[in-house]
Symmetry: C2
Subunit: 204 residues, 2 copies
Amino acid sequence: MDETEKLLLQVKDTSEIMLDLAYSSLIFSDREIADEVLLLADYVKELNSQLEEIVIERVSRDKDLNRAITYIRLSRAMEDIADSAEKIADVVLRDIKVHPVLAESILESGTSIAREVIAPGSVLAGTRLRETSLATDTGWFVIVVKRGQKWIIGPDGEAVLEPGDTIFARGPLESRGHLCRLCRGRTQQVQFVPDPSGEPDLRC
Amino acid sequence: MDETEKLLLQVKDTSEIMLDLAYSSLIFSDREIADEVLLLADYVKELNSQLEEIVIERVSRDKDLNRAITYIRLSRAMEDIADSAEKIADVVLRDIKVHPVLAESILESGTSIAREVIAPGSVLAGTRLRETSLATDTGWFVIVVKRGQKWIIGPDGEAVLEPGDTIFARGPLESRGHLCRLCRGRTQQVQFVPDPSGEPDLRC
């Protein structure tokens, strides 16, 4: 993978995470996450400028105009996604109250977003995310970790959660309660066993 | 949930699915999915017009201007997301070849997108999605189902997959091979057991 592709991928990942964060800020009326979205928007713009510089520099060398156009079109589309996330977060920052029914319904649509603090006794603390198999065993992906003043955006499988970390995760409503119990150390088994009735597990 | 909230939620869900589909069309150079993204863009615009009409009609009745502004701002931001997805799909429709390395790297970033056909012997055929626990047991969400000429966008837990359906799903790379085996009927156990070495399961 060359530098252009790495940058484009970073823009894609960041703009997608910004959307998740923007909806999180809306659901939890959380101004801090909304602020984070705005910072990420600047980061995306910065990445895109770097990318365009490299692409334009290479056009004269590689004579591959089509590829250059593709990359610039894609990076612009992704920057637009980042801008939209910024607009959603801006609703929170302007203190325009979102009706609780709307927040709840965003929460309940298809996939859900959760905010949890990792307890010292949680099986998720101190282990690499890959080794916990959280995503495959429960359907829940950690989208961002807040550790004090530090944000870990889109942690990969090597990331280790620490007690006291606040995580934002995206996953199926049916195992929401299970995620909560895992984070709070109320269960040690990561594997989610669905209720035979098919009812979603919502209690913690 | 009133009509406005239902519409806003539909706009949100559709624009998010459009993004997944746009990336799918890019990864698989699939013009049919790209076309579907364009149709969905029209649908989002239609939903948004309906929403704005209702919101404006209600302002004079409820005198709740803040709420109206919030809803219109949110629906516009979501329409922008839909527009961005359209621009990404447009890269495919203009036949600008995406470099295979780029397609591959999009595929390998954090979450992955898969396209699979449901075999007659698949354990996923004939059962409601909720009852298969696919999402919680493997981390894979079905984002769209193509059945002949019909598209089922964002199927819910009640949806039943049929043999011959093409599904597009989003999930963790580590269980990609397992999803493939499930769809092709090569394993009957939905539950994914990760390799103790932590290596992703990619073979089908």
